[in-house]
Each structure stands twice: as structure tokens, then as C-alpha cells.
């Protein structure tokens, strides 16, 4: 649908779940104006319910024939989770410290829980942003046609003027990476930091990543490391390709996990704790080949031979990891007859209203109890 496509690669072998990306995104975009509950970037533990809770079972995406599937809209309190307050004021009267509301769920509720039985338990992290899909479910679901995919780089954005807050996009996105802002009654989502990208900077989440696990670049830039990881070596795979939206965030699957222990607590040689079925579910059948390539290239390197792939994955230089083809956006601007500072006008006009909304602080997070009573406990079992 677009002329070019920006993509991100994340190496799950190097993610330590520190949430620096989450914080980078939050402080940049979602700490205000009704976006407080949203995490455009989150890091979740797998196996796990994820964020929002059980998003993989929440529907959306396309069926085998390419038809949009029905989905559900997660609940702000029960599925996303909102911040809570403590009774600090009452501590002086002898009360014990407790939360003001019943804790139901939070964005990282099951962090590090993972799967498997002790001593063979296991987990790994998956950082998630909007996949800026080539066939976006959110875009297809919108009856207002308010969601668009930018011609110049495939970034998927919401036209906040056209959006009427119907929320079909949220049901349509199988990754649940588009969110309803109840304050302005419009949907909002990860914008791939397009104002940064247009200046040659990578998205904040990628730039701040301490583990240097993220690469950003155009999928058709054959000199770029993103292209090499995705197309040349085929070690970076889309998450849940079966959802049918052709996502553009790619993951290097986890290669290393400790071996299993036998009954005598002795490690079983050549065993792995993460079941291959689970990796297949997440990354498709291609995960076998990807892991095989990684293993071979690694052995090559261990023998002292050259391995371009290993050099890329070591992530020596930000300049190579974030190949945003700086001149590209300037050229695009020039085509539209924009010069010098006018360059910034290429920032999509349709998004401006949202980008410039006035900052409003929310002080009280107990709102959900005031507005609606919490539903019965037994109904909390997810969707």
C-alpha cells in the first residue's frame, strides 16, 4: 500500500526486560491527555498474558481468506490495568499502608512468571510496539476511513480529525496496539516517532535501548542491517504472522535458554526449556530455519571465521543500526516544494491536531471506581 516501508528488528536474545524503551516512549508520548493508561511500547514476559491481558486471544486480524475477523475491545481496568493510589493520608491515623482500590490487573502483572515447572521453568521478554503492518487490521476496521498508511514510509497513523471514537480499530488490531483515548474520545497509537524519524533520529524506544537490541531502517534498503536481518539472513521474523496483517516489526527469536534438568538435577545435554511449539506459535514455522542459521553463524564466528550476521547482531554502531536514509525525507519534502525549515511541514498535517493538544494533568487515578463499579470477580477470567 505504501511506496516504502520502515521496519524495526528486535533481538530477543539481548532483551533484559529493563523497560527503558517503555519509559522512553511514555515520557515522550503517553504521560498526558488521556493517554496515561497506554503503553505504545511495552515489554512483556512470555509465556504470559501480555499487555493488554490475553491480547493474543482478543481477535482481530484477517482469516485464511483475507477477510477481517471480529475482535474485542479490552477493558481499561481489567485488561490494560491503570495506576493505583495508596492511602498515604491515613497512615498518620494508625492505618496500615494499603491501596485505595482493589488491585485487579496491571500492565506488567505477570512479569517473570513465564512457563514450565521448577527446576525447568523458563521465560523470555518480548518488547512490543505497533507493527505498522502492511495490511493493517485497524485501518481495515475503521468505518470512517480515519486510519491511513503513509505513502512515504508505511507508518500507520490515525487522522484525529476524522476519528469519531467508534473503536472498531481496537477490535480489528490483533496485537491490540491501538488504544482508545477516552478523554478526547479518539483512538491513538504508536506513531513510530515519525517527527524524530523525519529528522534522521530513530524512534525513542530504539534509541534509548540499553541492550542495543533494536534496528531501524527501510525494508528495501539492501545496504541496511534491517534488510540483512530480515531478507538476507532471514533470522528476524514477524510476531504471530498467522494474524494475517503482514507486520513490520521483526524479532530475532531466542536461541539460548538453559538446558533442562533431569530428576537428579543434572543438565540434559542438547535440551532446551523453551518448547519449540511455543516459538512456532509466535514466529511461525520459519523459526526453525532462523535458529539454525543463528547457530551456524555463531559457530563460524567461534572458529574465528568472518560472520557478517554476528557482526550485525553485536550492534557495534548506532549509525549502522539506524539507517534512516536521511536524505530520503528531505527529497520527499523537496518534491512537495518545501525548503529549509518548511521541511517539517512534511509531518503529516492530518496528525497535527493530536500532536498539539494542550497538556492536561490527571491527578486522581481512582476514577474508574467513581465512574463504574468493578464487575463481579468471577467474570475476571479474561476473554
Amino acid at each position: 500500500m505504501s511506496k516504502r516501508q520502515l521496519a524495526m528488528v528486535m533481538d530477543l536474545n539481548k532483551c533484559i526486560g529493563c523497560q527503558t524503551c517503555t519509559v522512553a516512549c511514555k515520557t515522550q508520548w503517553t504521560n498526558r491527555n488521556g493517554r496515561e493508561y497506554m503503553y505504545w511500547n511495552n515489554v512483556e514476559t512470555h509465556p504470559g498474558a501480555g499487555y493488554p491481558r490475553n491480547w493474543m486471544e482478543a481477535g482481530g486480524g484477517f482469516d485464511q481468506d483475507g477477510n477481517l475477523k471480529d475482535g474485542i475491545i479490552p477493558d481499561m481496568v481489567l485488561d490494560y490495568g491503570v495506576p493505583w493510589d495508596y492511602n498515604h493520608d491515613e497512615l498518620f491515623n494508625g492505618s496500615l499502608l494499603q491501596t485505595k482500590s482493589d488491585l485487579e490487573w496491571g500492565p506488567n502483572w505477570d512479569e517473570d512468571v513465564g512457563g514450565g515447572e521448577y527446576p525447568n521453568s523458563y521465560f523470555f521478554y518480548i518488547p512490543r510496539i505497533c507493527n505498522h503492518c502492511s495490511n493493517p487490521g485497524c485501518l481495515a476496521a475503521c468505518p470512517r476511513e480515519a486510519i491511513f498508511k503513509r505513502e512515504q514510509d508505511g507508518i500507520v497513523l490515525v487522522d484525529l480529525e476524522r476519528c469519531q471514537g467508534y473503536r472498531y480499530c481496537i477490535a480489528g488490531c490483533p496485537y491490540k496496539k491501538i488504544y482508545f483515548n477516552p478523554k478526547i474520545s479518539k483512538s491513538e497509537k504508536c506513531i513510530f516517532c515519525f517527527p524524530r524519524v523525519e529528522k534522521g533520529l530513530p524512534p525513542a524506544c530504539a534509541h534509548q535501548c540499553v541492550g542495543r537490541i533494536r534496528w531501524v531502517g527501510f525494508l528495501d534498503d539492501e545496504e541496511g542491517q534491517v534488510y540483512k536481518l530480515v531478507h538476507k539472513y532471514k533470522v528476524a521474523l514477524p510476531l504471530r504472522p498467522d494474524f494475517g496483517t503482514q507486520p513490520n516489526v521483526y524479532y530475532v527469536p531466542p536461541l539460548f535458554d538453559p538446558p533442562k534438568f533431569d530428576d537428579n538435577m543434572a543438565p540434559i545435554e542438547n535440551s532446551r526449556r523453551i518448547p519449540m511449539e511455543y516459538l512456532e506459535l509466535l514466529f511461525g514455522k520459519e523459526v526453525h530455519q532462523a535458529l539454525e542459521t543463528l547457530r551456524k553463524e555463531m559457530e563460524k564466528r567461534a572458529r574465528g571465521e568472518e560472520s557478517e550476521l554476528m557482526d550485525i547482531l553485536i550492534a557495534y554502531s548506532h549509525r549502522d543500526m539506524f539507517r534512516l536514509d536521511n536524505n530520503y525525507y528531505q527529497q520527499e519534502a523537496a518534491k512537495k516544494g518545501l525548503k529549509g525549515s518548511e521541511f517539517f511541514k512534511i509531518i503529516d498535517q492530518r496528525y497535527l491536531q493530536g500532536a498539539n493538544t494542550q497538556r492536561v494533568e490527571i491527578k486522581d487515578y481512582t476514577f474508574h471506581e467513581k465512574v463504574l463499579p468493578l464487575p463481579q470477580k468471577e467474570k475476571h477470567g479474561g476473554h
Binding site: 500500500m1 505504501s2 516504502r4 516501508q5 481477535g59 482481530g60 484477517f62 485464511q64 481468506d65 483475507g66 477477510n67 477481517l68 475477523k69 471480529d70 475482535g71 474485542i72 475491545i73 479490552p74 477493558d75 481499561m76 481496568v77 490494560y80 502492511s134 495490511n135 493493517p136 485501518l139 481495515a140 476496521a141 475503521c142 468505518p143 470512517r144 476511513e145 508505511g154 469519531q164 471514537g165 467508534y166 473503536r167 472498531y168 481496537i170 477490535a171 480489528g172 488504544y179 482508545f180 477516552p182 478523554k183 474520545s185 525494508l219 528495501d220 503482514q246 513490520n248 476514577f367 474508574h368 465512574v371 463504574l372
Partner: protein, 379 residues
């Protein structure tokens, strides 16, 4: 919009035993000339009871809302409408029962507010065919006035539209739309007042088509998920009605044909190849408008026009990206092209739209009447 089961059974009975007893006068709302267009003055004008039916032509993708649509299947919402006007303004008072007041809260993701809208075709009168009821079509733009119950905001908007996805907000001076809940009678009372004549819309005429939609927050209603009426006609008591237009829009009411034969004809003519209706559900979802409830919100003459001259009302289908072509080749970015099979029209290089449905002009007058008689029973 909660209804009891007894009413449900009753309404089914009426449809099956009295199909064809519909009367054009039931669709006419008498408007009175009054000096001041206020809510109080409209209260003294006799109201007309209108019935609204669940929109079922297009399928939306919210699984929880769709469950409610199926549960809600036979429920009809009733509203009372009074219209008053003077040289400058027109006012419409709409009252409808709703046991549960829903206001869209400022801090949840899953709640929706109650709401109401009033729709007028931009062009009407002699020689103009009726617009598609769902926000108009490419040849018949409509004006839509919307009021929703949203916490902390006065949500009233005026739109112009020519089909799904084309709703565009405009500002209209002198337009106001209020909505308040009457706890005693468990009903909403909405009052719209607007200039009788603007640059976009002139309502100073003897017979003005109008239609209504109501959203129920509890049923997760919003957008196309709503109950809607067919075209009603406001009859302005002091203005002249064009007899030709009256004759045109009043076509097909009453007992015009044999519904059973109409259904057979529809199957014989292959309508079920694209459309779903009643027990005919073999057509792929979304290939063409679902006709299962078409009779609730379509006027007989509109149904007739749609059969003999489908190009007159080319309807934009819901977002064309909802279906992609899995057998086509992906582009260089991995995107499948849209599946044209699901597009309801063909666009030529000048931008003209032609409906994919061919005109069924070979049908005899009686065949047409039988088919329309059948479609009228689908509610």
C-alpha cells in the same frame, strides 16, 4: 431499549399475518407552523409514533457488540416525533423509551453513550429519487445531525455525507441539539432546532424526507451499529406539496403483491448469490448489503429503484480494506492488494461509479411488486 417478550411475539404476528397493510400515512409526520420554535411549543403539537430497526445491512467487527446485535434481533425501538416550524426555523422533538441511561464516561474504553440523529437528503422533491438510508450515496448527499450523551462534553455535530466512511463534519450556524433523560418516564427527550434554510439544505417545502437513528449505549451501539428508521416525510401544513413527488414516494405501500412469490423470484434471479436474506445465507459476508432486515428501514419505492436502477444509488461499501486478495501476489512491502470482489461498485478512470449489481429491468411490473412485497416483510 428493553422490550418484553410478549411484544416481540406480537410484532412477529403483525408482520406475518398483516404483511402489506402498511400505510403511507404511517410514514407522514404532520408539522405545524408555530410562531416560536421551542421545546414547549413542540410539546403541544401531536406526535407521530415511529419505529426503528436494527441496522443489519453491513457487519461491523466488534465481537461483543455483534453478540448484542443478534440478541437484539427482533427488538424494535419506538420514538415519538413532533415537528414545528416558522419562516426561519424548524424544530423536531424526539422522545424514546430507554430503561437504562448510558452516558459515555470520560475514563473507560468499553462504554458507549446513548445518542440520536436526524438525517435529511440534500436534494429531494419532484424528479429526485430517494437516498440510501445509511448516510446517503454518491448521487444523494445527506445532512446528518448527531447528538450523543458523553460525559463532560456537549457532543452535538452536523455532518454532510454521501455513503459509508464519507461523513464529514461541517459547522452550521443556528443549529442546536439537546438531549435530556426523563427519569420518571424512563425516556430520552431530544430537541433539535435549526434554520429552515441554509446554503446546504432547504427544508421549506411541503413534503420533506427525514430519517432517524437511535444509539443505545448498553447495546454497545455506535456508528452503524444502531436502530434506524426508513425515510419519513414531514408534511408542512402551510406549504404546498408537489403531487408528483407525493405520488412517487408513496408508491408501493399496502398490499401490492405476493411475498411468497417474491422470495421465489429473488432466488430464481440469483439475488442470493450476493445478498444474504432470511434463510438464504450462502453469499459471502460483506459481498453485498445484507437484506435480512431491509424492510424495517427501506421505503417501497427505494427498494424498487434499487432493483431496476441500481446505478442510481451506488453505495460505497464499508472500508474496502476489510478484504484482501490472498491469491494475488504481495507487493514489495508484503501487502496483499484489496479483494475487488467485495467492492460494491466499479470506478472508471473519470471517477464515475457503476454498481456491480446489474439493472433487473426484465422483471415484469407484477414481479417487481411481489419482490418488494417480500422485502417489506424482512424486518
Amino acid at each position: 431499549m428493553k422490550k418484553t417478550l410478549s411484544l416481540l411475539a406480537l410484532s412477529t404476528l403483525i408482520i406475518s399475518s398483516n404483511a402489506g397493510t402498511d400505510n403511507f400515512n404511517d410514514d407522514v409526520i404532520e408539522a405545524k407552523q408555530i410562531s416560536n420554535v421551542t421545546e414547549e411549543s413542540l410539546n403541544s403539537i401531536p406526535s407521530k409514533k415511529i419505529t426503528l430497526y436494527q441496522q443489519y445491512s453491513v457487519h461491523l467487527n466488534d465481537a461483543n457488540a455483534n453478540k448484542k446485535v443478534e440478541e437484539q434481533k427482533p427488538v424494535e425501538a419506538e420514538a415519538e416525533v413532533s415537528v414545528g416550524y416558522n419562516q426561519k426555523e424548524i424544530g423536531i422533538l424526539i422522545k424514546w423509551k430507554d430503561d437504562t441511561k448510558s452516558v459515555q464516561p470520560a475514563m473507560t474504553t468499553t462504554k458507549f453513550g446513548d445518542g440520536v440523529s436526524v438525517q435529511f437528503p440534500v436534494k429531494y422533491g419532484k424528479g429526485t429519487t430517494l437516498a440510501y438510508i445509511g448516510m446517503g450515496d454518491t448521487k444523494h448527499p445527506v445532512m446528518t445531525y448527531l447528538k450523543k450523551a458523553v460525559e463532560g462534553r456537549d457532543y452535538q455535530k452536523a455532518f454532510i455525507a454521501e455513503g459509508f466512511g464519507s461523513l464529514t463534519e461541517i459547522s452550521e450556524k443556528g443549529f442546536s441539539f439537546t438531549m435530556k433523560y426523563d427519569d420518571t418516564n424512563k425516556q430520552w427527550i431530544a430537541f433539535i432546532k435549526k434554520p429552515i434554510k441554509t446554503a446546504d439544505l432547504n427544508l421549506a417545502s411541503g413534503l420533506v424526507p427525514v430519517s432517524f437513528a437511535i444509539w443505545d449505549g448498553d447495546s454497545l451501539n455506535r456508528d452503524g451499529n444502531k436502530v434506524i428508521s426508513n425515510w419519513k416525510f414531514i408534511k408542512m401544513d402551510k406549504m404546498k406539496t408537489d403531487p408528483a413527488y407525493l405520488k412517487y414516494v408513496s408508491w408501493g405501500y399496502g398490499d401490492i403483491g405476493n411475498p411468497e412469490r417474491g422470495k421465489e423470484l429473488m432466488i430464481q434471479n440469483g439475488c442470493n448469490g450476493c445478498h444474504r436474506f432470511a434463510d438464504q445465507t450462502s453469499a459471502p459476508e460483506g459481498l453485498a448489503p445484507n437484506l435480512s432486515k431491509i424492510g424495517g428501514y427501506s421505503n417501497p419505492v427505494y427498494l424498487r429503484e434499487s432493483i431496476v436502477n441500481p446505478n442510481d444509488v451506488v453505495i460505497r461499501n464499508l472500508n474496502i480494506n476489510r478484504h484482501y486478495n490472498k491469491s494475488a501476489e504481495k507487493d514489495k512491502n508484503g501487502a496483499y492488494p484489496n479483494n475487488d470482489m467485495y467492492t460494491w461498485y466499479i470506478k472508471d478512470n473519470k471517477g464515475n461509479l457503476t454498481s456491480k449489481m446489474p439493472p433487473y429491468t426484465h422483471l415484469s411490473e407484477q414481479d417487481l411488486k411481489d419482490i418488494v412485497a417480500y422485502l417489506k416483510t424482512l424486518k
